[in-house]
Amino acid sequence: MNPDPLAVTGVPRGYDLLIRHLKERAMKLGEFALAMVHDGWRAFDEGDLTAAQDVLDRAAQLDQMDEDMEHASIAFLVLRQPTAIDLRTAAALLKITTHLDRMGRLGFDMARITTSGTNGQKELAELHGLLQQMDEVVETMVRQSLDALGGDQVELARELFQRDDAVDRMHRDANRMIVESLEEHPEMAPRLASDLLVARHFERIADNACKVGEKTIYALTGQRRSEYLPRHPFRPYVLETPTNQTTRSRK
């Protein structure tokens, strides 16, 4: 007589321990990447070259953690041939690893464009305030994505998409401010070019946090993004020309 499977579901098994172990490794990678984002921004914002170098020195370890995580996920797939939630979790972790690695890389990129001193913050106070706000929201999103992953929290993961919309708006505002500032303070072009990159990096980090949330939802429910969050209909971007006559679209 077969036992009632409902009565034994959830009993810890080798599989569960292995998956827990995989998740813990992903969380460590995520914490490492988050610290690189945090410290990369701080170094850039404060013009602290020593702090920036410290972030740059972590790149090799980030790579190693990414590779180790990928290896562990593939080994789990090959050796355990998982199905259902176990399969989805292993597949999701493979993708999540890539997104976490990218976040760390973007922290690295912020450190890389750090220059000595905090020149320009007074003149560009509004822009500086906006970038600080982006940092706060984006770091919160990364933290939230890790909490959703580690705590199996679908709703927490879903909240990320709303925050991402806010980051996108801030990114557009930052771009506008930078263009205006370039006209007003052409002498600050180097600094503004870096700010443009940082705003873009924050926007990308937020996108990667959303991807972590998306994969977490897939692992836990089997739902793919298009099943709960229909993609925006294609909207052609209209490029303005001096005469505002010619338009073209891109994806």
């Binding site: 499977p5 579901t9 009993v11 599989y15 199905t83 259902a84 176990d86 989805r88």
Partner: protein
């Protein structure tokens, strides 16, 4: 969804007064491979044996419900005619041990009426080719069937079943007595056979079901728990029982 070849409608099969499978309704798509999985004693073999009226050949066994092959209830037809249209391959290779390879394959034709030697030769070659055995035995078709390896004997049994020109091929754990090399040949063969036949395969091996089947049915304690596209069933099953079984969370 492919057109339906075989419909099982509220089928219950008994041994004495005890039902081995209860109220199963299921549709087998034409020219697709459908796997039936489930733990020992769940009724997989009983179900498949109801599909060509083998179940009723056991004492005290009977069925209720219908099995409809192309709009005809097979329980209203001559059972011999049914078995001509729905062939079967068993767990252990069971060639006619006193016969040659050629005679094993041509046996079905002889039982089904007179055919010229030329017709028989052509049918034997075609069947052995379809069973992916011809190249290995073409120089020794008069050798005893027992001179073949286990895997070759199983393919000989498949050739023998195909020689009767069936429309549906039932396979009851056809690889359970075979080594991995012979197993992979049979699995590859199943993939080819579905071009011409509707294949229904009972297997204990979930990875095998995932590899060979387009659709999978999960049985538990004589009930059909879930039926669907194999990819969906193994990636995101809809029923907790299915999830518990395929992830190994039974006991």
């Amino acid at each position: 969804m492919a057109p339906v070849k075989l419909v099982v409608d509220h089928l219950t099969a008994y041994y004495g007064a005890k039902p081995a499978i209860s109220d199963i309704s299921l549709q087998f798509p034409d020219r697709k491979v459908t796997a039936i999985i489930g733990p020992s004693g769940c009724g997989k073999s009983t179900l498949i044996r109801c599909l060509n009226r083998l179940h009723e050949t056991q004492s005290n066994a009977h069925v209720e419900g219908q099995v409809i092959l192309d709009n005809e209830d097979i329980y209203a037809l001559d059972p011999v005619r049914v078995r001509r249209r729905i062939g079967m391959v068993f767990q252990k290779p069971n060639p006619f041990v006193t016969m040659s390879i050629y005679d094993n394959v041509s046996a079905a034709m002889r039982f089904n009426g007179h055919h010229s030697r030329d017709e028989t030769d052509k049918a034997v070659i075609r069947s052995l080719q379809q069973a992916a055995l011809w190249d290995e035995v073409k120089d020794r078709v008069d050798s005893p069937a027992t001179s073949l390896s286990g895997g070759q004997q199983q393919r000989l049994c498949i050739a023998r079943a195909l020689a009767a020109n069936p429309e549906v091929l039932l396979m009851d754990e056809p690889c359970s007595a075979l080594d991995p090399i012979a197993t992979s040949k049979i699995e590859e063969l199943v993939g080819q056979l579905k071009n011409d036949y509707t294949v229904i395969i009972v297997t204990h091996n979930m990875q095998q079901a995932a590899r060979v089947a387009d659709f999978t049915a999960f049985l538990y304690l004589g009930k059909l728990i879930e039926f669907g596209a194999t990819e969906d069933l193994f990636e995101r099953p809809q029923q907790t029982l299915t999830e518990s079984y395929i992830t190994g969370r039974f006991g």
